[in-house]
Amino acid sequence: MSAFLRSYFVIVVFGGAAVALVALTLGLGSVIRPSRPQPQKYIAYESGVDPVGTGWSQSQIRYYVFALLFVMFDVEAVFIFPWAVRLQALGVFGLVEMVVFIVILALGLVYAWRKGVLRWV
């Protein structure tokens, strides 16, 4: 494995370590903890009142337009980071390019704002 791949392989190891930590502590707990099942213990908790309907109730989603906006800006961030690293080399040309890019995206935000997307209805 090359040094480059090795430096990234550590990520996999650490992900595995997190799983191992959870498995170990829960395994240790299963030896110690009691198990006295009673039906009341498994009812969904709603501040002591018996739950009404299913837990997967309908709820008003005001977030989905924000989610769309988020995707737009997050992709923008992916493009901005490599530019930020190389800005010294790219010089004025790179800066002008990025100004154009950010202004277009800011226009998108202004449009969404004017359309009332950012208003909490």
Binding site: L26, G55, A77, V92, L105
Partner: protein, 340 residues
């Protein structure tokens, strides 16, 4: 020779994993004890826990012992696999943050070229865990809490990510080790030896980062997802025992990591002017630790001071103020970098 090298790689990796496995609970314990238990109590003119150990130092260990003995309860309607997996995802996100944080010139798990970018990407993994926890619990409080958390975390991830771009522009690298070096080689008020912490030229970036981090950690002005007075504990409401403790550990472990990243990006990280080589490796963790405590002091100070944002105010602050400010910050920093 290659066999020996491979062995060495596994040995160092094992040591790193063990160290981080120690650092995360230790960091979480220190932050929770010093700030959550003691600082908050004293700010509210009370003593806080005093019984377990001198001044209540062992309180959290006693709590962990208690949680270990709790019965493992799955709600009857829960989606069991997802319910069990959610704390793992959140904890994994906290673990992976520690991969890139440097504590000395050689004390780093892996000095990735994409350092900051990786850290920000990994930190947003926890949104997945939170949504999984809220959805699989089959509980109305959990579901509302998870949706609020998702809405908040995606809104505040943008100021966080865009606020960091200014630092990347100044340093010309995304590697955290490189950013520390860039600050060490900067000149503060013409004094070359002092270095230049980026909090001075990137003050706006630092504010954006702290506010974004506060929201990502769901600390109080931004704790709509948890809102103990209305949602009890939001997405965690059905979790008991150690599964609950994993969320707690991940929250404070992530707070520790975010404070470390903030200290590295804006306060110069482990660097001490005039100290190089092995001495810097010895001194680095302590210097970084002191800066972590400073940054987390601010995070928790805000937490204990401000009342909770309403959901519409929360979204408005992010989209109407912080994100445009972050874009302006990027353009101004870029302009100064190219022109000056």
């Amino acid at each position: 020779m290659t066999a020996a090298l491979h062995l060495a790689y596994w040995q160092t990796t094992t040591i790193k994993v063990l160290v981080v496995m120690g650092v995360i609970p230790l960091g979480a314990l220190v932050l929770a004890y010093v700030f959550l238990l003691k600082m908050m109590s004293h700010m509210q003119s009370r003593l806080g826990p005093m019984e377990a150990g001198p001044h209540g130092v062992l309180q959290l260990l006693a709590d962990a012992g208690k949680f270990l003995q709790k019965e493992d309860v799955f709600p009857e309607r829960a989606d069991r696999a997802v319910f069990a997996l959610a704390p793992v995802v959140v904890l994994m996100s906290a673990f992976l943050l520690y991969v890139v944080i440097p504590a000395g010139p050689r004390l780093t798990v892996s000095n990735l070229d994409t350092g900051v970018f990786f850290a920000l990407a990994v930190s947003s993994l926890s949104v997945l865990g939170v949504l999984m926890a809220g959805w699989s619990s089959a509980n109305k409080y959990s579901l509302i809490g998870a949706l609020r958390a998702a809405g908040q975390l995606i809104a505040y991830e943008l100021p966080l990510v865009l606020g960091v771009v200014g630092v990347v522009i100044q340093a010309g690298t995304m590697s955290l080790q490189g950013i520390v070096q860039a600050q060490a080689h900067g000149a503060l008020l013409g004094f070359k030896t002092l270095g230049e912490p980026y909090i001075l030229p990137q003050a706006l970036g630092f504010v954006l980062f702290i506010v974004g981090a506060q929201a990502e950690l769901t600390q109080t002005p931004f704790d709509m997802p948890l809102a103990e007075t209305e949602l009890v504990a939001g997405y965690m409401v059905e979790y008991t025992g150690f599964r609950f403790l994993f969320f707690f550990m991940a929250e404070f472990g992530t707070a520790f990591a975010f404070a470390a990243i903030g200290a590295t990006l804006f306060l110069g990280g482990w660097y001490v002017p005039g100290v190089h080589g092995t001495a810097a490796d010895v001194l680095g963790p302590f210097v970084l630790g002191a800066k972590i405590m400073l940054v987390s002091f601010f995070i928790f100070w805000f937490r204990f001071t401000y009342p909770r944002f309403r959901e519409d105010q929360l979204q408005a602050v992010a989209w109407k103020y912080l994100i445009p400010l972050a874009l302006v910050n990027i353009l101004v920093t870029g302009l100064l970098k190219v022109v000056v």
